[in-house]
Amino acid sequence: MSGQFVLEGVVVGLAVGSIYALIAVGFTVLYKSTKILNLAHGELVLFGGYLAIAATSAFGFLPTPAAFAAGVAVTLLAAAALGFAVERAVMRPLFGQPLLSVIIVTLALGYVVRGIMVGIWSGETRTFPPVIPATVVRVAGVPVSLVGVWSAAAAATLLVTFSLFFRYSRWGIAMRAAANEQLTASTLGVSLRRVFAYAWAFAAVAGAVGGILLGLWLGVNFALAAVGLKALAAVILGGLDSVPGAILGGLLVGVVETVLGGYMEAHVRVLGQPLHGFKEVTAYLVILLALMVRPHGLFGTERIERL
């Protein structure tokens, strides 16, 4: 691995990673406040990507930037509504059910959302109208597309905003209280139901934003759902219940994937075959390794059960 190769990988990896981090934060916030592992997260990303493109083209009578802005606004509202609806219709009746049931329900939800989207958009790759010119700029001497730079910048800005929001806003504090001790939180007057509802809405919005940003950069197709699982890798790496962990995890997965995955694809052969698409499984290797070495992630809390 040459120095230049690594540097390029790191820059691009950090850019992609910042979007992973955003998606991962949605995941972690949901887990922190509801203890639900959402296996439909990838579908939320997909939903955001497709809907934003569809909405943008529906606003096609406006100039492109305005149409895009309107499309994004509609998508975010729709995502929040989807989050609320899922919480109300599916998760609330399951409150208090075993972990197994709840996880399977999120899986089933993902199936439904994806099925409907395949039905409507039949799985072709779609792209946004050129909101940002398709030029290449240099970052630290590394060529990166301008779209990538913008996406990463947007993701970074949102990450900072969310972090501040969770630290200082009323809702952020309520969510953290719920995360720490559901019983205590409810006696302190925090409405758990509302926290759960907002957590779902937040997760859906974060996923959708991730879908839009990745979509801007790489186009939208069904492979995007797999990104939800990369967020899973990020979250596992960072520790399921840590927001800074999720951010760092996302960046790490982005970098490892581009550097290690890129290297393996380019230079390593197994049984004389080049490793096509190795990038895509790097995240899963990261998951398995992270679980073996540090089951609670880099920042996750290890709870000692009480008897």
Binding site: L37, L39, V90, P93, L94, Q97, L99, L100, S101, I103, I104, V105, L107, A108, L109, G110, Y111, V112, R114, G115, I116, V118, G119, I120, S122, G123, L229, L232, A233, I236, L240, V270, L271, Q273, L275, H276, G277, E280, V281, Y284, L285, I287, L288, L291, M292, P295, E305, L307
Partner: protein, 347 residues
């Protein structure tokens, strides 16, 4: 051991109480079922292929039932274990030139070993984490299949051969698969009513208490995974020689989730659950394949793709079951039976 109070006259006929088919009615029912299985090809005619398909997946589902229903561990990679069995059987019959009767147990053994390795970290990683680990395993296996053996297409598998008799018709395959099905199901049922089953359920219901009361969590969780994988391996081997071609698409994440659906729909932790669930899921899958274009025309959002109809229908069914009947078909049947028993004076 002498307890303080003199022991009263406790039931003396435990043997009768604990027998697998204690009530005579059940024994007759079991024999009737066996007879029906023997007669199935005459009754069903060319439709026997449906039963063959169900049987293969039911064997796999029995394995997952040990992992999820009894040990309470989540596995999203069951199809990957099936792949391990299928490719072992393929390798054994083509490259090692082993007969099918040797390849089948070999598939079970190899899958058992792989299952043990995947299940090993289950002590340190609980619940959620384990689900994710099995998911990662699923993707890695799919990737390996595509990269090393089958590519994007499929790998041909020789037909089954039983002591020189080619198993090349649906009816012949039925007798082979039905035998394995019955033996596998009875073995699993026996496991669940002895030491192993008791320990697995203890782990499922409250692992920390089980541990303090002498249950070795590492051993039993790993054992559950290994056993579950062995059943999947057997199903994979049968599938390979039945379908005659195997590829990544047969052992995809979607198939793993279908296995989970079989368990949930059939009834978690029930002996009949995996069989009922496999029958339901496989029949519905076949039906949907036939009816997808029609459904898609009626409900436009479903589109015309079979996969989207399948996904939406299964997703909705899973949600409905988990919210309204978490006990699955097994519990529904029991309720129905009670209702019939009490008719016409329900209380």
């Amino acid at each position: 051991m002498a307890y303080a109070r003199p022991c009263g006259d406790f039931k003396t006929s435990y043997a009768q109480d604990m027998a697998l088919l204690d009530i005579r009615l059940y024994r007759w029912g079991f024999l009737l079922l066996l007879a029906a299985m023997v007669a199935a090809p005459w009754v069903l005619g060319r439709w026997i292929y449906l039963l063959n398909d169900i049987a293969v997946f039911a064997i796999g589902a029995v394995g997952l039932s040990l992992v999820m229903g009894f040990a309470g561990q989540i596995s999203l990679g069951h199809a990957a274990f099936m792949a391990v069995g299928a490719y072992t059987s393929w390798f054994a019959t083509t490259h090692l030139k082993l007969p099918f009767v040797a390849a089948l147990p070999l598939s079970a053994v190899v899958a058992f070993a792989v299952g043990a390795v995947v299940g090993l970290p289950s002590l340190r990683i609980k619940g959620l984490y384990l689900a994710i680990a099995t998911l990662a395993f699923q993707f890695l296996v799919e990737y390996l299949i595509v990269q090393t053996v089958s590519g994007m297409g499929g790998t041909p598998v020789p037909p089954m051969d039983l002591f020189g008799v080619p198993v090349n018709t649906e009816v012949r395959f039925w007798y082979v698969v039905a035998t394995v099905w019955v033996v596998g199901a009875v073995f699993a049922t026996n496991l669940t009513r002895t030491r192993v089953g008791l320990a697995l359920m203890a782990v499922r219901d409250r692992d920390y208490a089980a541990q303090v009361l002498g249950v070795n969590l590492l051993y039993y969780k790993t054992l559950a995974f290994a056993l579950g994988a062995a059943y999947a391996g057997v199903a994979g081997s049968l599938f390979a020689h039945y379908n005659r071609v195997i590829g990544a698409e047969h052992f995809s994440l979607a198939q793993s989730i279908d296995f989970v659906a079989m368990l949930v729909i059939g009834g978690l932790g029930s002996v009949w659950g995996p069989h009922l669930g496999a029958a339901f899921v496989r029949m519905l899958t076949q039906l949907l394949k036939m009816w997808a274009p029609v459904l898609g025309a009626v409900i436009p959002v479903l589109g015309r793709a079979t996969t989207s109809v399948h996904d939406v229908v299964f997703g909705v069914i899973l949600i409905v079951f988990l919210i309204w009947e978490p006990g699955g078909l097994a519990t529904l049947l029991r309720k129905f039976k009670r209702y019939v028993d009490l008719w016409p004076f329900p209380h």
